[in-house]
Symmetry: C2
Subunit: 309 residues, 2 copies
């Protein structure tokens, strides 16, 4: 169905989707996907019009066995005419990424002490100190750096996260040299007013909106409403995971990544350009769901796949 | 987790949830639920703080066998201190409802000819003519009347529905005497700009916002973002289905009713009062999901139920 695109007051005309399915998605799936399938997945995502595709992670395989094939995968997709950021946890990871010619990297910080301890076994400041040489060296090499920030809204141990606490870590990441931040609602508890409040607090602290991306989870179904609030604030970089990978609704451990297709459906309806061909993207996610042996958690993928049958 | 409630500019301070799970939800479930379980369900919904609970339908049992027990059910819940609207398709249905003491009824119109034909076997105007004596007689009896309007945004056969077409049927229902309309996105294709455009067009045609409720489906995951757009426009009546009943994600026929819990999570986060106790509501939907023998499609129900285990 062709969807009408009524004038959407105060919204951007174009949004860049930062596609995280191949990294954030697959690292949270139980099944380990063969390297060739991952490479085909990234190629299909590029073919569907996505221009920023996070390809893999150079975290130690002990922590993320699903992405242990980073060295084998990256060269298979490096020639694609798209941006292919990769996650690097430390200098060792950066070395591995640079050796393969990666031109965009991302570090993964936490806004809360509890999650920094649980995920990185460090305090927030110790983690920032670990990232400092990574960012400095990457920038010296002309490599773009994204700073992920987890638990920007709520934390499973600490509850709601105070805005000044998030602002402080954002400032530290930008001062370190990060080109862009991704504000993560890792446990999916945020609501639109909270999103608006955080973005405003960041602006008041001198952080410009163009440096901010948003990364919402659908754990409580709030991701698109939160995205709408961020768009109204002027945000034009939105993270999403093709087919909702990493957020399987059938597992108790569902992280609930926002599905790229659900996002594209909304943006298309709002008349906001993304460059994405929704039909190709749905076909890609349906194909990956087959590989994983379970239906996609994306509502749009389910609706459009059923229609085709 | 206690969720902060930052000031939400331009949003209402209170929203009335029109709970449709017992009617719209159960009539779309495959399993037929025993009358005693339905009555217990309605009682639990009232106990959770919902104040408008659509109880059942007086459609001929041939069309909706799941609700064939309307006569047996209604007296079991009639004493609850909440509003209990019931669906009446025609004068025969109205007679049945009035005989049981119903004080609120609803008629079910279509904005498109294709759906009027498919659902009511009438043209749009023939259906309106059928409702006219229903509304007139109900109003003469002091009974409040809600007018549902299906396919206000997209239609599976006709595609996008022109705004003037929707406005015309809305005007006809209000002129007939309906106290309130429920604008239905029956196939879930709407996006926030389209919602804003329809509400604006209705205002321009003299329809005041307080007469409008919204009824969104999550078929493409858009229901909460659309709700946010409606709230920003001043809408304060929102339809939702406890546990997402009627929108099973495991069935191809998923209609995708917005889950009341996902709505309450957002409204609570926005500092908007609903009077609903989310914990009790989640427990009720988890209990009903057990009766139906499958998990709730509500993301919030799944997230909070898992947490409790």
């Amino acid at each position: 169905m062709t969807v009408p695109a009524p004038a959407a007051d105060g919204l951007p005309t174009r949004v860049r989707i930062h596609e995280v399915g191949a990294r954030d998605g697959l690292q949270n799936e139980k099944a380990t996907v063969p390297t060739e399938v991952k490479a085909e997945f990234v190629r299909r995502l590029a073919d569907a019009g996505l221009t920023t595709i996070e390809a893999t992670s150079f975290v130690h395989p002990k922590w993320v066995p699903q992405l242990a094939d980073a060295e084998a995968l990256f060269p298979q997709v490096a020639d694609l005419p798209v941006d292919l950021p990769v996650l690097v946890p430390n200098e060792r990871g950066l070395d591995r990424a640079l050796a393969l010619g990666a031109r965009r990297v991302a570090v993964f910080a936490s806004a809360t002490e509890s999650f920094a301890k649980a995920n990185l076994n460090r305090t927030v400041d110790e983690a920032l100190a670990m990232f400092d040489p990574v960012v400095t060296r990457a920038k010296a090499d002309g490599v773009q750096v994204r700073g992920y920030l987890s638990m920007c809204f709520g934390d499973p141990w600490e509850g709601p996260v105070p805005l000044p606490q998030v602002v402080r870590v954002c400032r530290a990441l930008l001062d370190m040299g990060c080109d862009e931040l991704s504000l993560g609602d890792t446990i999916g508890v945020a609501t639109p007013g909270h999103v608006q409040a955080l973005l405003t607090a960041l602006n008041e602290a001198g952080v410009p909106t163009p440096a901010l991306g948003v990364h919402f989870h659908d754990t409580y179904g709030q991701a698109l409403a939160n995205t709408l609030a961020a768009l109204r604030h002027g945000v034009t970089t939105v993270d999403a995971s093709a087919g909702g990978l990493g957020g399987c609704p059938y597992a108790k451990s569902a992280t609930g990544n926002l599905a790229t297709e659900d996002l594209v459906w909304m943006l298309r309806g709002l008349g906001i350009d993304t460059g994405v061909d929704l039909g190709r993207l749905v076909a890609t996610s349906a194909w990956m769901a087959d590989h994983l042996g379970r239906p996609s958690p994306s509502r749009t993928v389910r609706a459009l796949s059923h229609k085709e049958q």
